[in-house]
Symmetry: C2
Subunit: 452 residues, 2 copies
């Protein structure tokens, strides 16, 4: 049995793998401020070649380099693609880290460093699995492709045209997405979808300059205009009121609901952690999980107008703006929702409010009923020896739709993080055990997909 | 006729007066940053003494010095008090000034400098009238008191206790307030009242920290809470909706309405200047004047929450705040309105919104029917040779109520500014002619009040 040899190889060599992870972590790659992007892409490409793949940098006019790698199977026509990213969130605030975020220090079986959970650990783990197959079996059971981009943490602004221009190169029969891990009880987590996002700025304009607030009886106040317009978008029961907003929403299937019900969401821990007595509308239990996964949102990310310093100032501002994001569920398309927002503002008497789109991604998910999903679930339960927790979709967002909706194959997201991995936060970490198990899980997926 | 001699003296000596004004302007006195306050108070006290008054600095524990001066009349028991202030607005933006704001440059009959209109010009003018009486007549026709404070531009935060402790010292039969001038056609402007102000900050709190906006289906958003609560305060027709907000409003008298109708408000110039097609609710003409003077307001001065930089950020903020000011009309008391605001928030389901009072002043006005008002109107029409424009009240605010409501005498506001004097703005100015006429007007008021 080939997988046994591969697993043994992983057990024998995981300390070398972690040294490679440390090399990757030591190379900063903060996309938000273009820090070390070229260098990190080169390092990823070298690691891919060391793993046995042939590589190339996909042409990117404006964005950070996208590293592509592939290796053909001798035995299978099927192709499995891995989507990862080498860029990281800024490590700040630095004083909150116990060890240097770029040092990749191991303490008591846990590896600390910016990017170890999101997503350098998974990137290294997956490349090492390819090496393991080559060193033991001599070949890979399916054709393998890697796409490792450098702008995931800033919303992948340049990925769409690249996918369009490389549809053939990026074709596959299935794909593994970049994130995942285990819950507090060690159950492997499997994610099948992401919400879409529409980021919008609304701007209101009053007089040509700020005036003294004594003039308020006569001079229109753009801050009030903005407040009134926002109030027409969502009510106190958290219902989104935009006309036809829910028109194309595809409700979750019966299977999805069943899987969602089985998610052991730790709501009391979550509330305690955030100092909350209750969630919105006091939802709890399965309803909280369903709300989190299936409810589209309209969120105020930021609001600014006038004087916001200490004390008071009798000013009537002439400008006001709000930043909003909408999280969208299948099949709400961002362009369609943006159009409905503009029409809603117009028809509710707010044609003076300017709407600007700052970015968007479509929602995407893979049905639980897909054979590849069932294969991954079985691989997970065999490797971890525990029931897999399957999220039919998730509350987050990402460029999943570019692959799922444009290229059409099933995509499952797994990884080697855990519930306390602190992605995006100080002391980001994965455990050595989680890394090793996650690596074996990837080996099992490749093996089982080849055999399926 | 004594007044003729005084007027001749003013004509003969106004250039010296303006040199004294220049001395006062050259002394910075920016209360917002405590710049030159002691020095300016000393200079004002010296100028008072030079004018012939006995002076003292009223004890002030925390605030800037308040300069008091008085001179008794040989012929009258009546007392006229002048309220002025020596503090100024910051001169910034400096690059918008044609000449140094502290240079007091005269160009083509106009005196430019920070404070010449608000309120150093009036302060010097009034002191010089006392000197003129002493130099010509040998005494003043009524007892004279001056209170010149140093915190008017920051809301007079320490004046109330000082008034309470000095009620006898500050007693009088009538007072002249600090601001006024002429309109574009040279009509003297007379103001009889000010609105009150209540400055409030509303704060909403969500989770113990900002979270990723993917959590929006469950985690309460304080920005939305604030928007919804604000929406209950005022509707799109600009109606204030706070329960019982208008309960104690005293409507203007029939006489006030008649005077208000006679105000030649230049609404087209105002709209053009501010780039507006129309005022709120499209009010125009006499309605615009009545709205400006008699409508209480609820104004958003500032709003802040979450991310307000470039582009977008998928954050769900945990704090949001709004700064509001309410302009109040007789007899809306700030404490009462603050209580109603809190009760309104509570009864509308927003007891989670914290309300903090940043400052307040009561509304105050003197009835047109007061004999002193009629005396001033007649003095004005004689000096200027034109009909006086009487504002039964005004849209602005100030510490008028401390004198009017607490000490009880009639108060009229007049001065030597004009419609383009640009108080609080670059190139603040008064004309030499306006200064001379305004000085003669004060002499006439003192004279006529003594004779009445």
């Amino acid at each position: 049995m080939h997988l046994g040899e591969v697993s043994q190889y992983i057990d024998a060599h995981y300390e070398e793998f972690i040294q490679d992870l440390a090399r990757l972590v030591r190379q900063p790659s903060v996309s938000a401020r273009k820090e070390g992007m070229e260098e990190c892409a080169e390092l990823v490409e070298r690691m891919m070649r060391d793993a046995g793949l042939s590589t190339k940098i996909l042409p990117e006019k404006e964005g950070n380099p996208v590293v592509y790698g592939e290796i053909r199977s001798d035995t299978s026509e099927k192709t499995l693609l891995f989507y990862d990213h080498y860029d990281i969130q800024p490590p700040e605030p630095l004083d909150k880290w116990v060890s240097d975020p770029y040092s990749c220090e191991i303490r008591e079986g846990t590896i600390y460093g910016r990017g170890v959970a999101d997503n350098k650990g998974n990137t290294v783990s997956r490349l090492k699995v390819i090496r393991a197959f080559l060193e033991t079996v001599g070949s890979v059971p399916v054709n393998i492709k890697f796409v490792v981009e450098g702008e995931e943490e800033i919303g992948s602004p340049h990925l769409a045209p690249l996918i369009k221009e490389n549809k053939k190169l990026l074709s596959a029969d299935a794909a593994i997405w970049e994130f995942g891990g285990t819950d507090r009880k060690g159950h492997p987590l499997i994610y099948l979808g992401l919400k879409g996002v529409l980021s919008v700025e609304l701007r209101a304009q009053g007089a040509t300059r700020d005036v003294h607030s004594a003039n308020a009886p006569l001079i229109p106040n753009p801050a009030w205009r903005l407040v009134w317009s926002l109030n027409t978008l969502k009510n106190e029961r958290d219902d989104i009121l935009i006309d036809d907003f829910f028109e194309n929403v595809e409700p979750p299937s019966a299977e999805e609901i069943e899987y969602a019900k089985a998610i052991p969401y730790e709501e009391e821990e979550e509330k305690k952690d955030l100092g909350l007595e209750k969630f919105i509308n006091n939802v709890t239990g399965v309803d909280a999980v369903k709300t989190l996964l299936y409810k589209p949102t309209c969120t105020i990310n930021g609001l600014l107008t006038g004087y916001t310093g200490a004390g008071s100032k009798t000013v009537l501002p002439n400008k006001a703006m709000v930043k909003l994001d909408f999280r969208l569920v299948p099949n709400q398309m961002p362009d369609e929702i943006f159009g409905k927002l503009i029409e809603h503002l117009r028809s509710h008497g707010f044609k003076d409010i300017e709407a600007v789109m700052h970015g968007s991604t479509e929602p995407a998910k893979t049905p639980i009923t897909e054979e590849f999903v069932q294969t991954v679930i079985k691989s997970a339960e065999r490797v971890y020896g525990k029931r897999a927790v399957v999220y039919p979709t998730s509350a987050g967002s990402g460029p999943l739709h570019l692959f799922r909706n444009w290229l059409g194959y099933p995509i499952v997201s797994v990884g080697c993080a855990h519930e306390e991995s602190r992605g995006h936060a100080p002391n980001e970490n994965i455990t050595v055990e989680g890394f090793v198990k996650g690596t074996k899980f990837i080996a099992a997926i490749i093996n089982d997909f080849g055999a399926s």
